[in-house]
Assembly symmetry: D2
Homo-oligomer: 342 residues x 4
Amino acid sequence: MKKVRVAIFGASGYAGEELLRILLRHPAAEITAITSRKNAGEPVENVFPRFTGSGLKFTAPDVESIAAGCDAAILALPHGLATEFALPLLAHGIRVFDISADFRLKSAAKYKEYYKADHPAPELLAKAVYGLPERYREQLRSADLVACAGCYPTSSILPTAPLLAAGLVSPRGIVVASCSGVTGAGRKVDLPYIFPECNESLRAYGVIGHRHLPEIEQEMAFAAGVPELAINFIPHLAPMNRGINSTIVLDAMPGCTLEKLGEAYEAAYGHEQFVRVLPPRRTSDTKYVFMTNTCEIGYNLDAHTGKVILTSAIDNLTKGASGQAVQCLNIRFGLDEAAGLL
Amino acid sequence: MKKVRVAIFGASGYAGEELLRILLRHPAAEITAITSRKNAGEPVENVFPRFTGSGLKFTAPDVESIAAGCDAAILALPHGLATEFALPLLAHGIRVFDISADFRLKSAAKYKEYYKADHPAPELLAKAVYGLPERYREQLRSADLVACAGCYPTSSILPTAPLLAAGLVSPRGIVVASCSGVTGAGRKVDLPYIFPECNESLRAYGVIGHRHLPEIEQEMAFAAGVPELAINFIPHLAPMNRGINSTIVLDAMPGCTLEKLGEAYEAAYGHEQFVRVLPPRRTSDTKYVFMTNTCEIGYNLDAHTGKVILTSAIDNLTKGASGQAVQCLNIRFGLDEAAGLL
Amino acid sequence: MKKVRVAIFGASGYAGEELLRILLRHPAAEITAITSRKNAGEPVENVFPRFTGSGLKFTAPDVESIAAGCDAAILALPHGLATEFALPLLAHGIRVFDISADFRLKSAAKYKEYYKADHPAPELLAKAVYGLPERYREQLRSADLVACAGCYPTSSILPTAPLLAAGLVSPRGIVVASCSGVTGAGRKVDLPYIFPECNESLRAYGVIGHRHLPEIEQEMAFAAGVPELAINFIPHLAPMNRGINSTIVLDAMPGCTLEKLGEAYEAAYGHEQFVRVLPPRRTSDTKYVFMTNTCEIGYNLDAHTGKVILTSAIDNLTKGASGQAVQCLNIRFGLDEAAGLL
Amino acid sequence: MKKVRVAIFGASGYAGEELLRILLRHPAAEITAITSRKNAGEPVENVFPRFTGSGLKFTAPDVESIAAGCDAAILALPHGLATEFALPLLAHGIRVFDISADFRLKSAAKYKEYYKADHPAPELLAKAVYGLPERYREQLRSADLVACAGCYPTSSILPTAPLLAAGLVSPRGIVVASCSGVTGAGRKVDLPYIFPECNESLRAYGVIGHRHLPEIEQEMAFAAGVPELAINFIPHLAPMNRGINSTIVLDAMPGCTLEKLGEAYEAAYGHEQFVRVLPPRRTSDTKYVFMTNTCEIGYNLDAHTGKVILTSAIDNLTKGASGQAVQCLNIRFGLDEAAGLL
């Protein structure tokens, strides 16, 4: 069988490292290029010693030559820059899987509001398929451009979408409080991220207007079948490497019961390999999804306040980024959806 | 000046260790007894090497003999057991500062609902003063029995009470999401608390009916001037030793502005030594209160949803337990309120 | 191809969890039984949620019925107990891979000295093959009983053996200082291992007479070709989940140079998949072997003191336990040595 | 009583933060200036929120104006820069306590060898008193310039000096393996120190020629009464904020016994407030010295190899830096040696 040839753009960060880890043992994909402006010319082990022996070498991100030797490109680049590469790659007929936020929002206006810049290619927004397989699997089968879902959005949308779609919870007044490990900030060298500033520290940040907010609202509105909704999304930084735990509080609609919640999840995720819905009343734990592509979901109903309480856990680098990109790629190329991910 | 003589009951846990740390450098208090059934007869350094040289020795919790040599007793005992010691100590005229939950609720019915047992001394509930100096300082000056505020409650009540009292936020629909370090579980030897189970783990627990819930609701209702209210309180365990960060989402009332929020805090806490209200829009961080008796508060107003977003950070063992007990003791005995706490 | 059928005895600890993780994606092995006295009858996900969907269930360790359905047994049991299971399993013709210490020492007298009990089956000591493939690959191909190398020994023997064998370093006066993550203590529920006792703690333990000492000395002596040697082995507990870093100081023999050290390593490990020798003067890092079966080795020569300084890093649960057991099993059954381990 | 007026140069790093923490509750010292080029003009709480309310403000390091208002200066500056400030401060009659390495070595040649530059003021090397009170208390009483002992050196010299002086251990072939928390690297914003690079990482560094090596050798030689000695000092980075644990292996001299080791320690440290010698055979733990000025020492004798095994633990920011500087200052100004340090 011919393997899918994959180029990774921006391979020297944590999402890039996770892509390498996954793709190096993927039975039906091979890595044909890894790019890094800073490390061009160096063997991969200079940056990631664990990949010694893979024979991979960073190159400059030269689209022409790379496109000639690949079927798919995964972009682990900063937003804005991703579009600059997506455009010529698409022109060369390469399938593009973008881990950045560039193509996740359907509205160019929202993009401008949250990213403080005009979208560089608004015509692509309608064409891009949102890379969350449990919601958009059919569209992904033929997508040219996949906007892989963000880490916080994945952890927020998967637990809520089936309940919103079933009318079991209200689309109004949703509160999402999430805690992320420090790799969520990328491999960023900045004072707030050095070890002594993070260890024994737990802190909220971006409590108003975080860039993942419109993405979460967009997908929740789609699920609920409403034109718009507004939520509170409050991310926190926690002293761990990997993992996001999201706790979500929603108003139960009349007639909502624990059983109905369970049924909605069973209908939505009963056949999903990468969603694990816990028995009622239990709570998710980042430990149980560490270095896996699974989203773990717990649900509960508080009779005292009439609220549904959801918890979800993902590994931000796997299901929240690189694992999800590979899952989308597997779907797009007709491979086993779990290839490389178990 | 004669020092206040203090006995510590249940001194071999983390709250006990923190009491020792604080009281050993307290200029106006001296420790006259430390009790531990398990370690009776042993020098304190067998359990806490850092206190080598203090000359302290654990004894059995013999109330008669201990009461003869102390003015105050701090109880760092499990709930239920605390009452067994509080009763005879009070009978001997000793001032009692209880770190357990035994006397925090005014309603014996609520106690029974949440602690699954009849309250052992319901007649004391009205008499006990809630040990949160920033709210009950005057009553504390003459209290015989102080029910020191719990860790999660302290982190929830201090940021919300002034806003509820000023009518700037609604008492309905409040959501509190808190993350605690592992010492919050006490020095408990149980599988979920061993290092490999906690490290890289972030998880909610007790999302419905946590025992701190009625305590938080009681004090929020008092502040709001309403007979009752119901909130969602969702605690999480985070991989750190100390610290609680609480994120609180409330409905802004009409006319609420950032300035008015700031003014309400200034009025309430402008002269408080142990509350630090951050400039608007900033967020609290457990790192900045580590091993201090300070509660740090951040506030924000989300025009998008009409919600007030509060964050607060305390050290669960200091302001959330032992530091607060000493602060209450200082007030009760007419000492400098900050003695031993800076 | 018929898969090798593997039973795991004592599957509810961390080594058991790691065996499950590896074997569930092993292309040529299948798990036919997992035992746990405590959890017998429960689905594996009750203990390890990450394995939900595997269909595995813990059973009581009934050798008769389990032996009927397996080709190999991996014992992740406490020492002493391992022998009780190894004997009947061997009698049934099952290949036994023991992760405990029961069969690692060739001398029953040493066993008694360090384990304070007569060896329960001394006649097997000569028969057992030491499960360190880079040293005993040929013998492993036909072994009935494999005594998988311990975690500290693996990290100590791999970096030193080629140098001792080449006469580049002295077998006298070797000092090994190792730091291990907390899973090294097993899934043990005991006060020293709860999170707040380990976090911000680094401490030596067992500095004299640790049970891994005679195992390290035995293998170093074999490598050096001397009847006996005595070393100092000093283990430490570090606040992390996984990983052992060993720093080893040895006397350079006359004529020893960095080049010769590199040549000795190249000869010994140039073709090894699971040993990574770093360029001279660099040092190993547990981070780079996290959740891999690799041993990373760094070497240096201190002209100032005439000492060779080695550092090595392994993941104590993978190369130090379960990964190594699977590597041995792969060799024994003629599979790709790296199957399941990449 | 008139308080000692102290200026802190370079107050925006971790040693500066620790100095602030200590001096703000020092009963006999007051802070009259804190300098930071980068933060000049800002209130201290911009950098360290915990000191809100102290009224302190960073200023530029203007020696003239600062010297006019202080009795002592503590330099928490990079090496090299420290001398630039020490010279004019001494000229103004200010007592200087230098936390950098500038004045620790008695030999300008050694300084050049390890710091790759000519010493900027070699004439001061003989005049500076080494700031390790347990070794040089008498000289410190009248010192104008104190070269506070480094963190690794403190943890290495205190446990070894009494034994070397008593001839119980050999000055030849000493091996020191130390593990340090990440604050040991200062508040440095660099890739190796961000949280995800340190967490789950344990690694040796600077295994040959670390800058603390000649300092340790110098003081060990003084203690042993030999002109020179050479040791192996191997530092490691461990995933924690604070703390150094050193494990030291030395050759026992004929006649050395556990009792004699205990007697040597008793003679040296029996009256010391900040050295805690554990009962024989126990080991030190960084947890027990966290945020204290204590050095904890454990000792053992290995009959098997004839080695003495020492372990020691300090808090690198307290006894390893700022606490020690204040201890020296207390001695120099005739204050209670423990003032501010309990």
